[in-house]
């Protein structure tokens, strides 16, 4: 737990192993994974379990959503005490929009893959981003279609080699760059092998009221972990270049670590939690949209695997606010609020006489 954030070392919590709600970690677990041994997705599942536990999210408030693919199976492997919906291929973003409209008090977490999001569901994904529906949107990005045995996906890098030897000749779709372009206020890239960074990003995403995108490179050990792959474990480990060291200080804990002056940025989240960004080699400001896009364009050109919080802008109103939704869920409004009075109908009828 202490590995997650420099601000959460609570020896007492370690003993009782409960979070601020008094719930144990096991409450946040799900069914056993049926994915291949060593799959990057399982590491992300574990990070989700840990993050939701540490943040202290009420399991019943969570809606777990997914599309189709190996990644989309994983919603069954965490948060067993939350409702889950494994929908159709590429359409999780539409489901999330609907869920968010029906009950804005839910916390949507969606897990999707690169095929699901960047190919079949790209249009719906981008429009959900434009609407700024609330969702922690995790792309488990392995550059291939695992469940149908390894075909290239749209995020495969140009020049990447498939297991059978084919070389991808098309430009990769960068979901992060697209999301930033379309106004997404929380865009991050991470690596399933970097649990510390991923955990901090997930907790920050939970606190973000709109769409929070986490594009997590998650190697497919069966079909895309060979020499020539740019989404393999060895390649990713070797090339990962974190923009900063990320920490997360939840609103319910004080900042009790001394951060080196001048090298740490604090970003305030809506619920009072804070993201801490400690400077590494880069001097990166994730609140500068133009810079973020420029950085991604260069990174893509130079085959640079940058990770971290790429862009953060809390000012974009989430969909629920844009639509002026009521505080209480539309789903459970009493019948008296759903049907106008008979006199209203009579009045409307008069206009047609």
């Amino acid at each position: 737990m202490t590995a997650q954030s420099p601000s959460t070392p609570k020896p007492a919590a370690k003993v009782t192993k409960t979070n601020r709600l008094g719930l144990e970690l096991k409450v946040y677990k799900g069914a056993d994974s049926t994915l291949c041994n060593g799959c990057g997705h399982d590491a992300i599942t574990n990070a989700i379990i840990k993050s939701f536990f540490e943040y202290g999210v009420q399991p019943h408030r969570v809606a777990k959503l997914s599309g189709i693919g190996c990644s989309s199976k994983t919603t069954a492997y965490f948060l067993g005490r939350s409702h889950g919906f494994n929908a159709v291929h590429g359409r999780m973003s539409a489901i999330a929009t609907g869920s968010n409209l029906a009950n804005r008090t839910l916390l949507n977490i969606g897990v999707s893959g690169d095929g699901d999001t960047a190919s079949i569901g790209l249009g719906n994904f981008l429009h959900m981003v434009r609407r700024n529906a609330q969702i922690v949107y995790v792309i488990e990005n392995n550059g291939c279609y695992g469940l149908t045995k390894g075909q290239f996906s749209a995020t495969a890098d140009k020049g990447a080699v498939q297991k059978g030897g084919d070389v991808n000749q098309m430009t990769a779709i960068d979901c992060c760059a697209l999301a930033i372009e379309l106004g997404c206020g929380f865009v991050a890239r991470s690596f399933s092998g970097d649990a510390k960074q991923l955990g901090a990003l997930l907790k920050a995403a939970i606190a973000h009221p709109g769409t929070a995108l986490l594009d997590v490179v998650s190697p497919c050990v069966t079909f895309n972990n060979h020499e020539g792959s740019t989404k393999s474990y060895p390649y990713s480990k070797e090339h990962e270049d974190p923009l900063h060291e990320i920490g997360f200080v939840p609103f319910f804990e004080p900042i009790d670590v001394d951060y080196p002056a001048g090298t740490t940025k604090f970003l305030e989240l809506q619920d009072g939690s804070k993201i801490t960004l400690q400077k590494l080699e880069h001097d990166y400001d994730p609140t500068d949209r133009t810079r973020a896009l420029d950085l991604l364009h260069k990174a893509n050109r130079d085959r640079h695997f940058l990770t971290g919080l790429l862009y953060y802008d809390p000012s974009a109103p989430p969909m629920a606010e844009q639509l002026n939704l009521m505080d209480e869920p539309l789903a459970t409004l009493p019948a008296s609020k759903l049907r106008p009075a008979p006199e209203a109908l009579a009045k409307v009828m008069e206009r047609f006489r």
């Binding site: 489901i95 869920p329 009828m349």
Partner: protein, 611 residues
Amino acid sequence: MSVTSDHAGRQAAARAQSIVNDVVITVATSNGTGSQSANLILMRAIFDMGVPVGAKNMFPSNIQGLPTWFTVRANEDGWMARKRDADVFVAMNDESIAEDVAGLQPGATLVVTKALAGHVKRDDLVVHVVPFDDLVSQVCKDARLRKMVVNIMYVGVLAHLLDIEMSAVKGAIHRQFSRKATAAATNTEAAVVAYEWAKANLTPSGARVLRRSNKTQGKIIIEGNEATALGLVFGGITVLAWYPITPSSSVCESCIDYLDELRRDPESGKPTYAVVQAEDELASIGIVVGAGWAGARAATSTAGPGISLMSEFAGLSYFAEIPAVIVDVQRVGPSTGLPTRVSQGDVWKAYHLSHGDCKHPVLLPGNPQECFEFAAESLNLAERLQTLVFVLTDLDLGMNSWMSDPFQPITKPIDRGKVLSAEDLERVGQFARYRDVDGDGIPYRTLPGTDHPLAPYFTRGTGHSEAATYSEKPKDWKNNLDRLVRKFDTARKLMPRPVIETAPGASIGVIAYGSSDMAVKEARAMLAARGVPVDYLRLRALPIDTEVRDFVRDHRVTYLVEQNRDAQAASILRLEMPERATAVRSVLHYSGLPIDAQSIVDGITEQEAMS
């Protein structure tokens, strides 16, 4: 030409033998010229004279410049279906003039703008040439407005030719332009100028005239799409997601207007609904299914191309048992071509949309009143049955003007179906999402956000056990499919019952649905006049129940009238009762135009003669 006493005398003599309150007027213009306002004013003026009236707009898929026809049928007996031939034709469009004139029946009255008079070479028509361009120049100084204002002038001319009261015309103009005083004044002046000119220069044939009556008292005129929208608003819709498409866009546009007006929370002043214009139909149905899963009363509206795209989600709604409503305003075919023409060609598709063994309840409103009632009820049925429900209307019903009784308030309470709250779960102590507890095939569900350890379950399309766990066991899946059949049989009992009208001595029956109703009723009257009594069952929903079976069983032969080529509803009936398959015959109409009574009479008469 001036009015002489001789002229007036001839006129009076002719009118003594006039056909009163039975006339079909067709106006040919090009679209985008503002003729729709003039046409609605014409219709409204006749309605305000107390004469029942129906209107059909035959318009192109275009914004400006292509031929468009508007037909007003005024009929004392209330027959409002399309009639094939116009009694009075107004020709204003140079593109369609040759075809328009050639298509008229001998003896028809033709009002033609002077510029096009040279195209009229027939001597078997009553032709009135009107210098519309000169007349409009007199009243409209702004040359840019003339092509719009000229339209009201044919209304003035028709008022003279058919004895439409000018006070009714003026009233209708003010109603049409209630928020545009200048437009109202200009149009009134133009109508009067045209009327006075016609009075001074044209001698009506007097073959058909309109006289004040009392048959529209208490009635309304409304388009089906607006009625559907009101049904959703009063039915308690909470999430509307849509993608614009002809001819269904006006369902959602009206719905948005009425929601804004009528559905605000009195305490917070906030909307008690949410509307999203989605990026495509894949998303609009996805949003509906996501919202339905999370507990909203969610609907979308679309047309044929839209339901094609919605197909996969339709199956998910069926197998995962998630409430959803699709309003499908049917039109002709895919892509471009006839998107503005009517068809009932989505019956099969709606009934079985998606892959696997899918069957969906389909509501078939036959008039605006039912568009209202069924749209409201669709939300109840979707939640009660936890499945996708279709409201299947069509372009004729949806976009044309229909006379109707005012809608009565819905008295049936809003039904949220079998939803277990945390308190319910505490009381019953167990929950299995897909278990048939009540024997009606409908399981119980919980909504996300329910604070109870028993509440959560995992939703997936196929491969689930009773307890909603992942399962590929043959027994689990077969049990599930069999339960879904039980649920569908429960649906049979919950759907609106058919409406049956009998005639003494009838041995043949007619079944029809949707916008064919008015033409079928008129056809029955025509057949009865020929000594052929016909019983009539109006189908108002699928799946069918016992009434339909009994009706087919009890008639020597049943003609199923529908507006598609492949006898879609008839095929469904034949599958439901193979033993009577040969006793179900079809009368089909699929030209893109609304069905007319004569086609039905001919279709039945020809087949009866052969048997």
